[in-house]
Symmetry: D2
Subunit: 343 residues, 4 copies
């Protein structure tokens, strides 16, 4: 069985394993204050073009989301996000566990827009009973979205302009950020860093064993973030494990290369799906593709491949998720393409 069901089916890029192996007997202090973490932070600040950023390494995405959000919001505030957002759908209420409501907006291809945020905020404050309603306190988006789609430069700029005007911090979940950067070269890390208040660079799904690098660019949001990490159970004793991985990823661009290869393979699969006339749920430019397959097609491919079930679409068809990653070999991708074409 060849797995294409998600982008965390293998361990990590071999360079990561090698780096962990080589550094294994080094003695360092704990909790992310070692020299590997320092190096990784320096590389990342350079990569995002923001020397003043605070960079923290967390183990996973849900942890990063809940820690950042709980750190920003006042108790009576909620976080605006797309109805399809990860924090709204797939984190078992981790944000609510911190006492905050997720304020879900309808989405288009997994995205929300500046106008929706402006309207929501205006409606809130216009309501005579606004004190009885959760106050919008920040905005959360993902790049790429849950559907593999992308915010364009223009869309993000408009959204961030609205956020600044409304004094709502903008937080970008980048669990799969590498794939977005690979898919749209005009959307760079420095551009992102300049157009939000806090974001993270996902490692777990982009070649690391685990790890998310939270970058806080807004000075007002930096204070005592390490206390927050510890309080939320997210402070890794051997913090160096995160430092070593991100050092490896950002020393000379491995992060970008890993993502590029995965996206290239995904686009090859996409091309095959289109050529074969198989409809796509979304027009995704990243490492996740969502073909709508008949039960028969699912059964045929299912003999050889593990694919992800995404959603029912009615009738005899379902939306299926196909993911590539650093670990998808060209051979396996070729095989899948051949089998798609043979459907």
């Amino acid at each position: 069985m060849i797995r294409f069901d998600c982008d965390y089916t293998e361990g990590a890029h071999p360079n990561i394993i090698a780096a962990l192996s080589e550094s294994n007997f080094e003695q360092t202090c704990g909790y992310g204050e070692d020299h590997h973490c320092e190096n990784a932070r320096a590389y990342i600040k350079k990569a995002i073009g923001c020397e003043s950023a605070d960079v923290h390494f967390l183990v996973g995405g849900t942890q990063a989301n809940m820690t950042v959000i709980a750190s920003i919001l006042r108790p009576y505030q909620g976080v605006l996000c797309a109805e399809s957002g990860h924090i709204n759908c797939h984190e078992t209420g981790a944000v609510e566990a911190t006492g905050h409501k997720v304020l879900a907006l309808s989405h288009k291809d997994g995205k929300i827009c500046a106008k929706q945020v402006r309207d929501y905020v205006a409606t809130h404050w216009r309501d005579a009973a606004h004190e009885h309603i959760v106050q919008p306190g920040m905005v959360y988006i993902s790049q790429p979205t849950e559907y593999g789609t992308l915010y364009s430069r223009e869309e993000l700029k408009e959204l961030y302009a609205a956020c600044r005007e409304l004094e709502l911090p903008l937080f970008v979940d980048g669990a799969r950020l590498g794939y977005a950067l690979a898919a749209d070269k005009s959307f760079t890390l420095p551009f992102l860093a300049a157009n939000c208040d806090v974001f993270y660079i996902g490692g777990t799904k982009v070649g690391c064993l685990f790890g998310e690098a939270v970058c806080i660019t807004n000075d007002a949001l930096k204070r005592d973030f390490r206390y927050m990490i510890k309080r939320m159970g997210g402070m890794l004793a051997k913090g160096r494990l995160l430092g070593i991985q991100f050092e490896e990823m950002f020393r000379d661009g491995l992060y970008f290369r890993v993502a590029e290869k995965a996206v290239a393979n995904a686009l090859r699969i996409k091309a095959a799906l289109i050529q074969k006339g198989i409809p796509l749920l979304m027009d995704s430019a990243t490492n996740q593709q969502f073909p709508i397959l008949t039960k028969a097609q699912q059964a045929t491919l299912g003999e050889k491949y593990a694919l992800g079930f995404w959603d029912t679409t009615g009738g005899e068809r379902d939306a299926i998720r196909i993911c590539t990653s650093w670990a998808s070999s060209d051979e396996n991708v070729d095989a899948l393409i051949a089998d798609i074409m043979a459907l």
Copy 2:
């Protein structure tokens, strides 16, 4: 600089690194449902002599503590623990973050006893205003304690008898459990499993990169624990990383061997301290030793070794923590002993 300041200054036992390396390209499902986790669970159930236990792998100790405690308590209940307990002192309020008060009892060498628990509970229910007071809902201890001391078999049995009688689940934090098992061979994993309701086997400080194996032996506490893990941000996407480590540790007893060596080295250091006439804060039988050193002694040793500051003891002396681990080489221990004897 040779570090003896804590037991997480290196990576992991080389077998762990090798296992991660070998398994790196295997494809597995995520979230701890892969075959490595299954194997590790099977090994652990055998080692603890409890086939009916539920075993879950978490990344770190604070996360394990808050998840277990929040899973057990009703909202208005608190957790009884020693004033010196980790959850009371060094987790930045992670338990309170879940809405629960830590009910601190005075400790003797880091330990609490059955009588204290009985008295506390009796006092609570006797108070006419008991509904205005946090209700004791469970008991938390560590084996070994923060001071490296141990609960004897008899002490644990008495404590657990009290807990059962009072219907308070007993939770044992085993962040350094291996060292306790190595120090008192009569106190085995099956004995522990039979004398509490939930405990964890610490990996982070006993040779793993990270990881704690939570063992729930009381059926009433098992339900939906995986929901709790996810809700608290503790569900590792590549859960196999935990499975692979504990598989390695429990396949043929590596966990015990790692701990034994560390304890043996710690006892050699302890013997030197005693021989030299240096007072000890506690009579620890495990991998942590707490000599009381003069400022001059600290300065002399500090030229070559990183030791942990533990507490002021008044005057010119401080309690210092010396930790050994799987990674403490005999050479380094020999050197430290020689330098202690030369003080």
Copy 3:
């Protein structure tokens, strides 16, 4: 200015004031354990036809909602409710403040149905990733709803049958329960008590100064509820104030008479609105009516009456809320009707 904008614009039914005045110098113990509370509990148990119920008096509706919900749910569970539900819209995230997600279902006239609950639960458990999704843990409805509409006997029975089958406690918010009972005489308190697990009889909006009587009929939900009340800040020191009010309300049926008069007046206003050809947002049978008025009509009535703004409906019209209560005098209602007819 004559107010019809809500049902809490005056103090309390004069009998309540008289009872508070008469009992003022009595000495009693605190926290709801006095003889007035005992009497009130006895009257209520009789009225609801459930001697085994636990009855607790709380000050307000949001407090009652959050205390009941936090008492029932496990940490990773959420509460199913109509999108228009009070807990979802107008409690500033009080439920989320206790760590739980509100799982909003689309509504029809403010109501949800058994099928929606069954479908939601089935979908949850069918999802391979269900551990990553908040688990439905209970169901919340209001009788009457936010729109003044009513669950019929049949609808409630079906909903409760689904809840029992799915093991989801059913909680009925009765902030305006009296008006529902007055509007549908077949829907009695004993019927309600037999068809949910916990509900409350609202006093604040039905003639009391304040107060909600929470009735827990399901034994499994009774334990330690007074601890919950105190922990949530809802334990009134002079609990007798609540007892005295509910004693007065339920000694000889004042609660029902108060509600009947308000509903009768509301239906007179409704008849006038219909006769005049003014559209209604909902077909409400209770003390709240929602005419859709032009801006001009609003301005005309606004010279003499305070009415509640409810919602924009597009164009030149808005949905307006007109509320009656125990305190709406026949004269004021007559005047309003005349002015409606003169529009």
Copy 4:
């Protein structure tokens, strides 16, 4: 049975009942925005000598404490208070329910001092592991304390100077504030308002039916406090009930007269106890007195009076609480004194 066991055994000062009765048919808006609340706020601002203060009315003390504390602290911060503080002992973990640890300091006669706060904060920041420890974020005291004792002007000034220097907001719980003001005329409301950041004037225990007036004098703590009240379930629909009571209390000094009479009666009882040679647990100057009575004395007085049990003191004696209030008649106090003298 004549009750002296607490200060909330009767309803309210008759003027309060009269005012509620007189205003009963007035129509007002809800949620504390009516003219009675406006008047009461104006009276209170004048009484505390701080026109810029924000004044909010809450129903009870635990609710006031948890709302103020949760409003001030960042998630990883705790509140410093005396070990004997109400929030630490008698609120069923309401502060922890909001996610915050109570950082208990040893007390002297129920009080903490500036030096303790300075030392605690210095120790925190000096600790290399301070990020693993709950950060002190504010200070909570009560005036009078749980033991009826008082902070002198000098003590409060020193404490507040320390707080300002350390940037810790100082919150004064004034559940029985009236009695403190009556006992030490040099300690005025304007003095208090000038020497803390937020405090409340307790009504429940000083002549009202219920109600606490929270006064926020520090501008930085004012924002969105009404959202907090609603989110914590503390927003009273008929907020006017609180306004009417505080209007009555502060229109022409009723609050002070009520407290003075209670304190005068308490001091008469205290004099009798001293004259009789009965030891006192604390030298209280306020409406609560704590004689240490033998079991026999308790039994004798217990035939006629309800007294409060306070604490065991060892042997055959217990500390007993005797409370006076606005409602303690001179006759009853005379009778108690006679019976004490006859012991």
